[in-house]
Symmetry: D2
Subunit: 145 residues, 4 copies
């Protein structure tokens, strides 16, 4: 399956008084790209949620390489840094569409949470279809197959 990078414009309300996009907004962008990725692979985030599974966030990080300004269009590439039955680390690469320059790289680490049972679960057990989909995009997991 061919995944397209997630593309979006930087909004005026996302700027700060330095005249650049405020860094906290990138965390929003990572989420947008993650949601878009799940839709592209055919298992939308809302479908996971309606199956009773949520992706509890364990941690997030972002390294800023160069500045994004109002009206710039950025592309975000999503990949898996690691995937296990109980946890995944998603990696993001934000580039400027016009210049191709790298703007930021990020990571988010998630575990799987059963919202009815209120406890952590193995995605491999509770939603094997989604786990296998993720695995097909994970280099480590893919190597094992």
């Amino acid at each position: 399956m061919n995944i397209k990078p997630y593309s979006r414009k930087a909004h005026y309300y996302e700027t700060d008084q330095m005249g650049i996009i405020h860094h906290a907004n990138y965390i929003h962008w990572l989420e947008e790209a993650r949601v878009d990725f799940m839709e592209q692979i055919g298992f939308g985030y809302d479908r996971a949620v309606s199956s009773g599974i949520d992706f509890a966030l364990l941690g997030v990080s972002c390294e800023y390489k160069s500045m994004v300004r109002f009206n710039d269009i950025v592309e975000i590439r999503v990949s898996f840094a690691s995937l296990t039955p109980v946890q995944m680390t998603v990696r993001y690469q934000i580039t400027d569409v016009e210049s191709g320059k790298l703007r930021a790289v990020g990571e988010s680490r998630h575990c799987y949470f059963d919202s009815n049972k209120k406890r952590l679960v193995s995605l491999k057990k509770v939603l094997p279809e989604l786990y296998d989909l993720f695995a097909s995009f994970s280099p480590e997991e893919g190597a094992k197959e």
Copy 2:
């Protein structure tokens, strides 16, 4: 009961590239002031929510009089423009603490929503204690008493 205006600092991440606080943040401030008002009158917003009552927002407006900048401290005064058993209009006045200058005035219009029955209700009937509290701050209602 003597209500103190709600006071807060303007944050860096609330600025935009014009070097002023972006207008959408004022809508957040109105909500903060509303929540603070309810706490001061002894009936916190979370207590209303846990009673099954939510304040569905019908409309909001804000008129911008002068600019707020990073680190400015503003005070927000909350009052009732109108109050009926099924609807209320809350009024807000945002002033700069240091200069006393008026920064903005706003209004929010709410009805009362029973989150279990999923329907609009009369606050006077379902939470008379809170309605009477509100009424004691409403000039129109106060005049009737």
Copy 3:
């Protein structure tokens, strides 16, 4: 000129604990639609800004008609409620793409600010090209022509 409504998805981070899009985000959406409108008419907001003209916001309002949820796609139609050489009122209509239901209507009122001279100006005098463009979309102004 045929203007397409501005279309966008509601993001997860825009939801609140009632499970709906928090009302303050609509104010962001109005801005996104306004910026998109200016691009479509061929005079981007950044071009106005680089000409030294900013659109100082005098007031904003939004009436909420029905709820928007995560992943809903909304369309925003932009029109002029009024236009004069020194002030304009922009009107917005937010509808749900799938159901066609009206979600909200909004208005924003702006004057024109010369960012170098730090004073209000007549758009008709300082940027007649943009003023005429706006006027061609304004029913009142259009009627005069």
Copy 4:
């Protein structure tokens, strides 16, 4: 000098549809705590900025330990993980005031940027007063003195 932890309430508009504070808002809180820290040590962020020095963000990270809900009061402790003339890493510990439970830990990495010369600078050279203040709070630097 005795630095008080930065204290703030979690706002309603910061919640998401899981009923908890959305993770991106923590990044805002780190900034608020950083700005508060600088004010407490007597060298406000705006004073640094008006000296022509800005703190360019190189990276930010946050590890989420337990959930924060609407109206919870959190305390944020700020310290230096490292400090050199050209870069600093600030560490944050977010705890719940009522229970004392750890909610999150974060880090932000900054370099110093001369906004007139548009280039990175040594804080030790351009603002030695501020550098020495920071150093007095940095265990590593303090050990050298």
